[in-house]
Assembly symmetry: C2
Homo-oligomer: 550 residues x 2
């Protein structure tokens, strides 16, 4: 089967769309698009995984118990192959030469077939993502399945584009005045960089992980996936699918392997310091991300860490729309998105809304009421909030409440389907701009601050400051004043943060669209890479020139 | 004056040529192309610089004596502005905003005007390069002038191409089934990374330095140039020209500044560790280059260090042609090019030349004779060799002679025009493959080894090994056997070294052509960057997305 021919249309459309940046998604985000049997089949396939060894035919020594747990309280009980970094590094190096020698088209075809097969397993993946990360089902389906596949395809398209910028064999002729010209036949051979390691995150393993994995794979590098010790199953499903396709295409399945570890015996540091490792992709907390950036000299390191995302409310036409939009943004997945707004800056003198003036307290209370209303029904709240993944996240809720005036307490939500699920609504705390220690740091999870500032100028200045100090991935600014909008855009540029204005409808600032929006700019401490831009891909292979005189 | 309009034709041709990789040079390499008066005018302009302060209107505190010396024995006596890193960093940051806000086209236009004016100063630059580096005049003219400008233009073209891959303002529309689509107006704003530092090399300051300087400048970053303490004048001329053009275009001249230091009080380390520095380009020895790669976390670091370049002689049709070509490659600029072959591997059982078999000793002696013949006349030798730049290079000649059997001693050459010039012919030493300590390291300068190996397979294996351990920029392989050629190409790919085959004519392996050949692959310790590929440019700016609902 020629996977390139099979998927050429999709690849071409992806190549076009990364240029036009228009809306496009080849993998439907609506669960209904997958056929009548897909939901039940997918759930059954997921259930079939539980309480069993997850077999991956890679170098390993039996199976290991892991620390993977479900925030929904579901007993997972999956064990995974116990593999050593050394065995997987050796296997990856052995698998590499034939893959490195394949054409970019062949590799793109294999990558797209992997994505295509994963698309057909979107329900199984949705349950795996939901149960390991705590996302609500619809988010797990969309972000874990089709949207992650969009991001993966985008990375493959960039990889293909970068690898095909040079001509093939060509003749070069340099005039020499009256003498004969110098005539040289030239070719360029692509040299993939070497073993790639992807270090997965606990919350969005596929959405954040696929771009690096696929960019490395599409440029000819083998990939060792080191999932987060608490969120393994989604990457295990990916690994299984990828290995099957790779083998079917005639390559060594060890191009993609899974290296599982536990919090008690982490392997990532030793792994990435091995000189055979040439590429590292990381999503996760800033401490380890910064360690990687500063200590891994044998590899290119791409990070997506975290940050303090800001909302600046200056003025509005439709304050209800502001609250409606913001309340959803702040509630989705209990604020456990790296794009969730944390700090909402409001002038302490209040804001203009049309002809009216609304006080700071009324803005803060309005937002609190909107969140409270959105999440008043437990069933509905559960579908928005999902469950809390980390113990540390729960601790931060209590810590944050002590830092200011709570205007909306965090409420425990009970879910009839998953009575053991740990679900909490967002805590909203009012603070003054002077209370910098409280809000000028990342409080990952269902915690947000409404910060009283002197004016919008100070709001923007504080948002810039926190972005430069702690990183930021999203900004959302509400203003009806063109000058403020222009100033905010300049401030966002200064801070290196993507910015959206006046979102009151169905688009939420948390969402970034593949083929169009860049996720993370790489221009502040939130991460050094951008999903996906040419710089994310261009260094994953090198070019070796070959010259032969005619 | 709209510099973009003025130079649009040149930019467009450069953009086309980096795709076609065909021969092209907008800056004539023949000195005769510059008009009758140019040689005398240029020399006079150079002479006018000597013994005087070199005035640069940048933040400074008087002028300083420097350690710049001429390998030709010419008394230079130029003093340069004494500037502090702090003053230049502050000036660079102050100059940045307006430049960062300019369009890629405006910036490209300014860059091309700088190159155009430098082209008109090619004779002055040639004398500056010749007298500071020790290059012979023709090399100093070509490599220091037009070829360096070609490389600079190439970098500007890549910078322009990378910055213009996104559409301008656009409308994005996502269907929502029966509901209204989500409609968003999007723009992307480019965010230059920040202050760039170029650390210059003593031997080819402009050829190696321009690409980084121009890539940073064209992507909106200010540049502080820290020239090698022994080779300052070429970059001072560049700085003068660049500042004049920048100011004429209405920008702050402090976008380009010159930070001079001395070996006794080096400033580079402190400078590059300043958090305001976001880009570092370096050409020079591997020790400091590796230090930069491992210790500068606040900036992207692009290095070109050095390596052990290899020649593998397996068989030949035209052994005289081999010797003729190699003797020139090994003699040019006394081996002080980072592309000069150092190790010549020859099977100890000899090689096939057509129907004949030629012994190892005859190959070694033939090469020695060719070099000896080429350089037998002192006047001609001087025109090829130039002069020796570094004390350390002279010491290496003596050291190398002790490691094996000298088959061609290094001879001191006297130059009638410059009686104080330090000129030496290459030393050729025969060693056995077992004498690894002698040849498995870089011996920068007029030193080469002819290494007796078991066979070509061992020759290639040793060349791979030294490239992986110490880096390599060029390989040259002679073989009439297609299988050996294929194996050598694979070995070069493995080693990450560009390779040329069977050069016997007017092309020398030392030469790489702008717009077509990549200089350094970035795939071995010879450097982490390639001049110029997309990866060299893509990270010098970031993209900030702006979204506004319609």
């Amino acid at each position: 089967m020629d996977f390139y021919e099979k998927h050429k249309g999709t690849l071409d459309k992806a190549l076009e769309t990364i240029r036009t940046r228009q809306y496009w998604s080849p993998y439907p985000e609506s669960p209904r698009a997958y056929g009548e049997d897909a939901p039940a089949d997918g759930e059954a396939a997921f259930q079939e995984r539980l309480g069993k060894p997850f077999v991956v035919d890679q170098p390993s020594d039996g199976f290991m118990e892991v620390a993977e747990t479900s925030p929904y309280g579901t007993e997972l009980g999956v064990t995974y192959p116990r593999s050593s970094p050394e065995a997987l590094l050796a296997a990856a190096e052995a698998a590499m030469p034939a893959w490195a020698a394949a054409t970019p088209a062949t590799r793109a075809g294999v990558c797209l077939e992997i994505l295509d097969r994963l698309a057909h397993r979107s329900f199984e993946m949705a349950h795996a993502v939901m149960q390991t990360t705590g996302q609500a089902f619809l988010m797990a389906f969309q972000a874990g399945g089709p949207h992650a596949l969009d991001r993966a395809l985008e990375a493959v398209a960039y990889a293909y584009a970068e690898q095909t910028r040079l001509p093939g064999e060509m003749r070069w002729e340099k005039p020499q005045g009256k003498r004969d010209p110098i005539v040289i036949d030239k070719t360029w051979r692509l040299k993939p960089r070497g073993v790639a390691v992807t270090i997965g995150v606990s919350t969005f393993p596929t959405w954040n992980g696929y771009p690096g994995v696929l960019a490395s794979l599409a440029t000819g590098n083998p990939v060792i996936i080191k999932p987060h010790p608490g969120t393994i199953l989604p990457f295990a499903l990916f690994t299984e699918t990828a290995r099957a396709v790779v083998a079917e295409a005639g390559f060594d399945a060890n191009l993609v392997t899974l290296l599982v570890d536990t919090p008690d015996a982490p392997v990532a540091k030793d792994l990435v310091l091995d000189p055979r490792v040439k590429l590292v992709d990381y999503t996760g907390g800033p401490t380890f991300g910064t360690w990687l950036e500063e200590n891994v000299h044998n590899a290119l390191v791409f990070t997506e860490k975290a940050g303090v995302n800001s909302v600046v409310i200056d003025s509005a036409d439709d304050l209800k729309g502001v609250f409606r939009n913001l309340s959803v943004s702040m509630s989705m997945y209990s604020g456990q998105m790296c794009t969730t707004p944390q700090n909402v800056y409001v002038p302490r003198g209040g804001i203009d809304v049309g002809e009216e003036h609304v006080s700071f307290d009324d803005v803060a209370q309005g937002l609190a009421d909107a969140i409270g209303g959105l999440l008043s029904d437990d069933q509905r709240a559960g579908d928005i909030l999902g469950a809390i993944k980390g113990e540390a996240t729960l601790r931060r809720i209590d810590e944050a409440a002590a830092g200011g005036t709570p205007i909306l307490p965090s409420r425990a939500v009970t879910n009839p389907t998953f009575p053991d699920a740990v679900m909490r609504t967002p805590l909203l705390v009012a603070v003054d701009a002077a209370d910098r220690d409280v809000y000028m740091r990342e409080m990952f999870g269902p915690v947000a601050f409404v910060i009283a500032t002197d004016d919008t100028e100070q709001s923007l200045a504080l948002a810039v400051e926190s972005a430069k100090a702690s990183g930021a991935i999203t900004w959302l600014v509400y203003s009806t004043d063109d000058e403020v909008v222009a100033a905010a855009e300049d401030a966002a540029l200064d801070a290196g943060v993507s910015v959206a204005f006046n979102l009151t409808g169905a688009l939420f600032v948390n969402q970034s669209a593949a083929f169009s929006d860049f996720h993370v700019t790489g221009a502040n401490p939130a991460g050094n890479a951008s999903l996906t831009d040419p710089a994310f891909v261009a260094g994953r292979f090198r070019v070796v020139g070959v010259r032969k005189p005619v």
